[in-house]
Symmetry: D2
Subunit: 341 residues, 4 copies
């Protein structure tokens, strides 16, 4: 039985609380929030869980083995360090921290103390993403040529982060997981419209280059009349469209493509054959990703699994976000990324 | 009555022939094609029109006042020059030529001989584009922040032009017309997948900067499972989505947006107010753009109108395509364009 | 301040409890359920509300002015009668009872004791339905010719009621409210597939004739691969499609139709003119209908409003369901309904 | 080589002419129309085909083996009889005639003279319908429970036929072909709105009962804002939706359904298990049905195939339309149909 404490009962925290509480081998010992009203409201559903407005009470509770940090991004590093200092495992919400340096410090600290560190990149645990992972690993799509992603909607405009930090973490975490690799180069352009005076980009285009020539193009925007969450994977054998907004048809697999015939001797020409094929919409499970994510964290602590969104995974996402924002500042300069040793 | 000759009875020519033939004040004197079978098949519908496999017969026919050139792009310049040399007005298909230098020569030659020169940028004459022009000119959308365009489908892969030259002319011609301006800077990235050995890009992303901070982002691709033709216009007052694939709902006008409240004294914060508004789908006329385009050419010759896709318009499109391809070669370098005097 | 008690904490009850609890001028005194676990789980959120497994405790509580009955349909009548006998106002879930005779008894009993009686036909309080009501009352659609409704999905198969009793109450309640009238004749056909041995219809087609020649055709089914909730209103001036499944575009108003020109003297022919018009998607509020319904019940008790889903409204719905099922048994015979005095 | 003559160059005739002309083993000898202008316009494309305004010239031409009748429905019988009297094979457009008696006479006359008789029920030859036929015959859907069809749009209002005669022939011909059977009972209701004074129904609901308990419900209407052509097939194993309006996704096959577990001894309850399965969109060929239909007629004449839309097939369609209209007149009375000997 793992004792769990959760810091942060705001927008996202209650979902984590609910899902950790429902795990058979976890014990929700305490929750914490600075806002007492909020704490009590959320706490009503958990009569046997201690409520405290002082997160230090929670961190220092000997019954607690692992702490979940679901507070604003800017506090992730300091709180995370305190959790680790107290000798507890750490689950921290995404993005892991506001810069890669802090991420590295968290990783080193956890390693030095032999504590587990996981980042809440929920998409990694979502049924459609896991199905796509399986399809890619099985070679269903052939070689991936490129991926085109639209993640746009109207608002919500953040006041201390641009649209890249707000929306792109999902995509980078997903892609690094799907490809089992991180980008080798990043470039981006961004534009400030509504918050021009603050210099906060509300529209951006980010290009990622993965090993093997896989290209990813991401459009993130707070300025679009429709909510769009579409990822198109173009492979040498098949194409796949993942539409996360569709309630019941999230994945479409197209047996459609272009076959390139090999060069024949003496002929300079090669031949393109179009395939117009069937479309397959596999049934996608509908379990809650947060539940699977909570179970994964517990198994990770128990040494049963290799974590799929550990500190290094979280760091790589932050590195890409940093590089993308740097490129935006430099008018789209291509920035190469060092592999993480 | 204007005497018309048409060179080229291939894919597009018959549409031009049909629409010029149906104009009350035009006389379709002759049509020409190198392929005699093709010429005769197309010609069956026009028993009173002369057919010739030698375009020189047509160009030199004194009954012909204006010549329509609907041949492959690489022949536009030479044929166009011969038409002008023969003292005939010239209608040439898009793109006007394979490079801007040739475009300039065509313009100068026409001007020197006081002949009319028009390029077949049909989108300028299409009902939805004209409706959008009206809405923009009326200020319905407020200031345009940015435009996002997807023009993608599976193939048809060209063997002597990349996807930018194949698909982007429509967008550039449309935008220059809508904004009454040309881009001041262009950048682009492109990628070769299916025709890697030939170095022909099949996927590209092009960014155009128009005066006044209007940004346009264009995604063109021959490698997408779905045919998509979507332009999203984001303005300070309203947003508009133009979906050219939709048979009956091409334009959606969203009374939706974000209002920025001015700074109040003593408050560092400004306020963002979201508007969730009505959506309006105006009825769009369904007349054939080619018919309107043919009528426009005749009126242009007759000196009744200022041409909306004249040689200079065609040149500007080619300049943007050139710059985009140059930027692709230089890894997305931002290329500034000189205004055309 | 009105004291409220709620009987039934099953599928629907908690929604009613939550919405009555949030009313400023109501006091949620007690809730009741036979299942103690369920009662306690639901009750956790309402620490100041009394929980009881014996609904009689609740009904006889002098602090309670009105009782909400959210139990299975077959118990509505008996519980409702007990509530009225105890001198409390009654809110009963839809359908009001299993037959019209019981409905009449409830109405008479309430009237005799000067108690208020309301039925939970939530659709009457839903934002899109209220918008349609306004459009109809304003004459926007002209005369209504007919309404075509599809309310189909896969399951959930009921074991003690057919698909008409399960799905059609929503439509009948909505239409009676929209038209301010009840059907004058009903016919229906129904078919048993999955539960053939039990004789429970899973597919049915019901036709309602409203005064003034308005025809309604309803298709209800538990055997359709897609969830469809579409109502098409065809009027002499405009047409309207209400799609309750669409998350953000529930109402489409078509300025489209056919104009019939009057007979001219000496001409036997009349003229049909088609209008191909704009389409308008009004922004529809997204407040919770149950909240508005709860407020309405309180105002009804306080004598401030005429109830829009009172006992008579509930009775009329049940009468139509009865007649439809009778018609199904008689192979679709047209059954006329008497106006309710 | 079969000599072909076509009577009628109106709306549909030119499509038949074009497709018969393109058959390798047919010779388009003559075409005919009362309207000389129309005849010449259509005829321009067929310089080697004789044009005549007198259909008798055509019927009596010894070079003609078979005559195609593509004239208004009311003339099908008289023209068809003249064709047969002249000893020619007959292809007549749908519906075969205005009443079943005339259909029987045509069939008998053709049989007596050993001539072939085929009706132009094009849907029988359309790629999606043929694919559905294959799926049904292979048992992919299991037992068919019911079919629900919507065939609605705005207009075109006919002045001498109601909406059933206008739109339902497609459905009846398709279903009889798919099921290899004809309905055993028919009922219908219909309503006159726009052409009330003429008594021409513009909205109708028709129910067909096929052997084996297969039920079909058809909604035809000239009064709907959207063009809808949807057929939902509900089977015991799978469900299929055929959307003829969709340009590229006409057939969706749902591996979704309800499994009924058999009764166990001692248990009154049976168990329903829902299956939420994959969806499959097979690639459907896009050849022109009319071409396939023309080839089929030629092979039928040559004795190579059993005709899939012969006179008896055409008669059965007309019988169903007659019965449906009769039922409409009698307020939806169920009318049983005799099997055709």
């Amino acid at each position: 039985m793992t004792g769990i404490g959760v810091i942060g009962c705001g927008y996202w925290g209650p979902n984590l609380i609910r899902n950790f509480n429902s795990q058979a081998d976890a014990d929700l010992i305490a929750i914490s929030d600075l806002d007492e009203n909020r704490l009590n409201t959320v706490g009503l559903l958990y009569p046997n869980t201690r409520k405290t407005t002082d997160y230090r009470d929670l961190i220092n509770d000997p019954a607690i083995d692992a702490v979940v940090v679901a507070t604003p991004m800017s506090t992730h590093f300091d709180l995370g360090m305190e959790v680790l200092a107290a000798g507890k495992h750490l689950f921290v919400e995404k993005p892991m921290a506001t810069n890669s340096e802090d991420c590295r410090t968290l990783i080193k600290t956890a390693a030095a103390k032999d504590l587990k560190l996981m980042v809440g990149h929920t998409f990694v645990y979502s049924p459609p993403v896991r199905m796509i992972k399986q399809l890619l690993d099985d070679g269903e799509l052939g070689d991936i040529y490129y991926v085109n992603i639209s993640r746009v909607n109207l608002g919500i405009f953040q006041k201390d982060a641009n649209v890249i930090w707000d929306l792109a973490p999902h995509d980078v975490a997903m892609l690094n997981f799907l490809f089992g690799a991180e980008p080798i180069a990043v470039s981006g352009t961004g534009h400030c419209y509504v918050q021009k005076e603050r210099g906060i980009e509300d529209v951006a285009f980010v290009t990622l280059e993965y090993p093997g020539g896989k290209l990813v193009h991401i459009h993130v925007s707070w300025l679009d009349p429709n909510k769009i969450r579409t990822c198109t994977f173009v492979g040498s054998k098949k194409m796949l469209v993942y539409d996360d907004v569709s309630p019941s048809e999230k994945i479409r697999l197209y047996d459609k493509g272009v076959d390139v015939q090999p060069h024949y001797e003496g002929f300079g020409e090669f031949q393109l054959l179009y395939r117009s094929g069937d479309i397959f919409l596999p049934h996608v499970d509908t379990y809650e990703p947060l539940k699977s994510q909570a179970a994964h964290f517990l198994e990770f602590i128990q040494g049963k699994v290799v974590c799929q969104s550990d500190g290094t995974h979280g760091l790589k996402v932050v590195e890409v976000l940093e590089a993308a924002c740097q490129s935006v500042k430099e008018d789209g300069r291509r920035i190469t990324l060092e592999p993480i040793a």
